[in-house]
């Protein structure tokens, strides 16, 4: 098979620069289909592209935040097929065909999701950097009947979302308020 680059006047130089710059270009990209917040998105990614980075940098969905980038802080929490995960510890290519819900996908017809509303009402943040992750975890926890409804169970279930401003008290209050109003969905 003829490589089109072979006919390029600077084919040799190009090959050298590819080899030197990174293996990423050499390994090529793969087609990937995601359903992001209900919308089908088709894109191409390298194998080492991380789900968080693809959403932020390729799809422009910057609501999901990068904190530690190692699964320790929870800022990147989103839902894959309804399950909360750390998107920094997932390859995009692993999720071909999956339904991804980010914080941008919570609103309905321009209205805040009830959990977002509760965070607003309870001042459940200060700087707000962790908030998208906190909200995504909270939405999943409120739907999960296996997790207890008392404050201690909520705190334990939310321990993967760090808030360096220390808004924990108001975060728990917001979650319990959303539970009480029965508008968690």
């Amino acid at each position: 098979m003829t490589n089109p680059r072979d006919n390029h006047p600077h084919a040799g130089l190009l090959a050298d620069s590819l080899a030197n710059s990174s293996v990423e270009a050499a390994a090529g990209t793969r087609a990937l289909q995601l359903i992001v917040n209900g919308v089908e998105r088709r894109l191409r990614v390298t194998p080492n592209a991380v789900l968080l980075d693809v959403l932020r940098d390729q799809l422009g969905l910057t609501g999901t935040k990068k904190g530690c980038d190692h699964g320790q802080c929870g800022a990147c929490t989103l839902h894959v097929n309804g399950v909360a995960i750390n998107s920094c510890l997932s390859l995009a290519i692993m999720h071909d065909g999956d339904e991804i819900t980010t914080v941008e996908g919570l609103e309905r017809n321009g209205e805040l999701h009830p959990v977002q509303e509760a965070f607003w009402e309870h001042d459940a943040y200060q700087c707000g950097y962790c908030t998208a992750g906190q909200v995504m975890s909270a939405v999943a926890i409120l739907k999960d009947v296996r997790i207890g409804s008392d404050d201690a169970s909520v705190r334990e279930a939310m321990s993967g979302n760090i808030c360096r401003c220390g808004a924990y008290k108001n975060i728990v209050a917001a979650i319990q308020s959303a539970r009480k109003t029965g508008r968690a969905d």
């Binding site: 190692h70 699964g71 909360a84 692993m94 321990s159």
Partner: protein
């Protein structure tokens, strides 16, 4: 993260064949350890075989009473499964005491067994570490070795504690690791699966080249037993164990009829304390008997500069767990 060749396997045969094609290939399940270590350049597989969609996703009770868990069952699913909660409380509690909701949602049963140590010198990429770079030594022995380092099963080449909670419960329950490889399938006793560091700390498990974990099968639950996992740590949640105990006990007329004890946070592999079990069997269920068994469990423990407190802490983890289960 460096790039790599990626292959999504449709079945175990494909996965094993793809793994065998490239030296240093890695299986990718939940990715919570692998991708973390690839980001910090500690693991550098040239080829990644994605197995997370393989159909090892069931929890089944076998006719002989054992429970077979597919390697791809998530830590969350396993922890909340009705059979596990009813008959293996120690396992459910151990799982729920580990990591966070999001990590447990993604982490798999097979992956938990394969997780790597948390020693900072292993993870920093530059310090002497015989596990990461054979022949370079062990920075932890004379370094910061308070929380993530062992007092049991150590060697002069590695003292990193095995970080799993789930595995400690499985060591107490008794289990079999089923693997499939180029030469077929075989079973490995759970207690033989993880290897103490000895002179080859880079060799962490009993898998042969290109073998894939397909299931973990738990021994049938002990009749009339009670069990619990007690984890002692620096903060109340999302922290590795300083010391933990998995205990399964059967009492009759105030005496210990059967008991299983395993320790976490203090050993280089999930640590079954069989001598302590023997010391306790047939004894009255009293604090004195528990204290004696706890001392037996930690016989031979080697403290390092900052983690000597773990010996007393592990003993207390055994005593308190037994007291609570038998009270």
């Amino acid at each position: 993260m460096r790039n790599f060749d990626y292959f999504a396997a449709a079945n175990p045969d494909q996965a094993i064949a793809a793994h065998a094609q490239t030296r240093g290939a890695a299986f990718l399940a939940g990715g919570t350890t692998l991708l973390d270590l690839m980001k910090i350049d500690i693991m550098r597989p040239p080829s990644v075989i994605d197995i997370h969609r393989l159909a090892f996703d069931q929890i089944e009770t076998l006719t002989d009473g054992r429970v077979r868990i597919g390697a791809m069952v998530s830590n969350t699913t396993l922890a909340y499964h009705p059979t596990i909660r009813a008959d293996y409380a120690v396992l459910s509690e151990a799982l729920l005491s580990g990591a966070t909701t999001q990590l447990r949602n993604k982490a798999t049963t097979g992956g938990n067994v394969m997780q790597r140590v948390r020693c900072g010198y292993f993870r920093d990429g530059v310090s002497p570490c015989d596990k990461r770079e054979p022949g370079s030594g062990c920075a932890a022995i004379d370094g910061q070795n308070r929380s993530l380092h062992a007092v049991l099963g150590t060697s002069e080449r590695c003292i990193a504690a095995h970080p799993s909670d789930m595995c400690v419960a499985m060591a107490a329950i008794g289990a079999t690791v089923s693997v499939q490889g180029p030469k077929g399938v075989r079973d490995i006793d759970f207690l033989d699966f993880h290897l103490a560091p000895g002179n080859t700390p880079w060799k962490e498990h009993a898998l042969d080249d290109d073998e894939l974990i397909t299931h973990i099968t738990l021994d049938a639950p002990l009749r009339s037993s009670k069990s619990a996992y007690l984890k002692l740590r620096d903060r109340a949640s999302y922290q590795f164990a300083l010391a933990s105990s998995a205990v399964i006990v059967v009492t009759a007329d105030g005496a210990i009829q059967e008991v299983r004890i395993a320790l976490g946070g203090v050993a280089t592999k999930p640590w079954r304390a069989k001598h302590a079990e023997l010391a306790l069997k047939g004894q009255p269920a009293t604090r004195d008997a528990f204290s004696h068994a706890a001392q037996v469990a930690l016989q031979g423990a080697v403290p390092y500069a900052h983690n000597g407190f773990k010996i007393a802490l592990a003993q207390q983890a055994i005593v308190r767990n037994l007291l609570s289960l038998t009270s």
